[in-house]
């Protein structure tokens, strides 16, 4: 048994299979940011820090005439979203009920996916994480409400990255509203705006709940690093007569190695 303590939960084999499957289905489409950055791991729950390869000079040392420095690391942060599942619903699941109420799980999965997207794209000061958009030295422009203008704006961002020496292909993270505008829009001649943007970028376009506006970033690799300790997992907290209390958790750090490899757009 590991730290998730799953074996202690009053949940049957089929119950766990349903919970895990539901969590995977809800998490996968919403985890946009990690698709656009380098993903290292998972290294497990014991992994605590990312090596930065840098030191801080120390003012003092244990003995006269000896210099001293201390290694700097980026500590991994933990995210956890709690939820509960009714024991009655789980019993019905074991009877073969096809419509078990896992709304609280769905909500927790969405919350933690959004939190991860926000941390990667917009930063998380409390965990010393600078986001892709925040780190970019390029001026952030407004994307606007009219999707017809998106190709020009995105092409401008790609040209800016090329001019900066940042090679492609390029990916695009779109906030919820911006994504909706893109997928529902067709340009003159009937071609989908989504297809046009893909041709400009040469890389993926992702629905990124939590992202404010949009971010264009290089997919050449080596510019943005997501260091995963414990990847998203479902663990057991406690239970009472009514419900079992579970959680989804993960640990990670995120580092921007090349700030100029991204261009952000405000909403």
């Amino acid at each position: 048994m590991n730290h998730l303590l799953r074996e202690l939960a009053p949940v049957t084999e089929s119950g766990w299979q349903t919970i895990d499957s539901e969590a995977q289905q809800r998490l996968t489409p919403a985890l946009a940011a990690r698709r656009l950055v380098d993903f290292a791991g998972p290294h497990g729950w014991e992994h605590s820090a990312t090596n930065l390869g840098r030191t801080t000079e120390l003012a003092t040392s244990p003995h006269e005439g000896v210099g001293a420095a201390q290694r700097r690391v980026l500590a991994l942060a933990e995210l956890r979203a709690d939820f509960s599942v009714s024991l009655k619903e789980l019993r019905d699941l074991d009877r073969g009920a096809p419509d078990v109420d896992l709304a609280a799980l769905d909500d927790a999965a969405h919350r933690i996916a959004v939190a991860e997207n926000v941390a990667v794209m917009h930063g998380w000061a409390g965990a010393a994480i600078t986001g892709v958009a925040d780190a970019s030295p390029h001026e952030s422009k407004e994307l606007g409400n009219d999707a017809e203008h998106y190709p020009r704006a995105i092409a401008g961002a790609v040209e800016l990255l090329l001019r900066t020496g940042i090679d492609g292909p390029y990916g695009l993270a779109l906030g919820r509203e911006q994504y909706r505008r893109v997928v529902e829009s067709a340009e003159h001649g009937g071609s989908l705006l989504l297809d046009h943007l893909r041709k400009i970028l040469g890389g993926p376009i992702v629905w990124a709940p939590g992202v404010q506006g949009a971010v264009v970033l290089s997919q050449r690799g080596g510019d943005f690093m997501f260091d995963c300790g414990q990847d998203l997992s479902v663990g057991y907290a406690s239970h009472d007569e009514q419900a079992v209390h579970l959680y989804i958790e993960e640990s990670f750090s995120f580092l921007v190695a090349t700030p100029e490899a991204a261009v952000a757009f405000s909403a």
């Binding site: 048994m1 590991n2 049957t12 766990w16 998490l27 993903f39 995963c228 997992s233 057991y236």
Partner: protein
Amino acid sequence: MGFDQYHEPPEELSPATRTFARMCASLTEEAEAIGWYEQRLAVETDSEALAIMRDAQGEEFKHFSMDLEFLLRRTPLWREIAKGILFQAGDVVEHGEESEARATGEDDGGGSSPSADGTGSLGIGGQTGSMR
């Protein structure tokens, strides 16, 4: 020359099984040699002799690792179980039990790890290359 690496009559064994048995015997000998050198190094006081024996033990590490890799390549189940144990941080016994259960299909799913990465995660990972 002894033939005691065979537990069954050699003529009844296939060439592949005889090779497998030879490599198992070789693996055992390399492990024994590593242990012998460890003991010698613990008691030796001559620095030159120590350096030579450390170098020799390094050779045995290499030989052992080569033998092991050969055997793992020829034995998929062994390799699958080893993948869940070798070079993993954390509790070795726990990894061993989980890895065996996964590899042999005896994982009862009753709260055990849903993924094959050995961390108990959902196995989502980076999803690199996916496009929406």
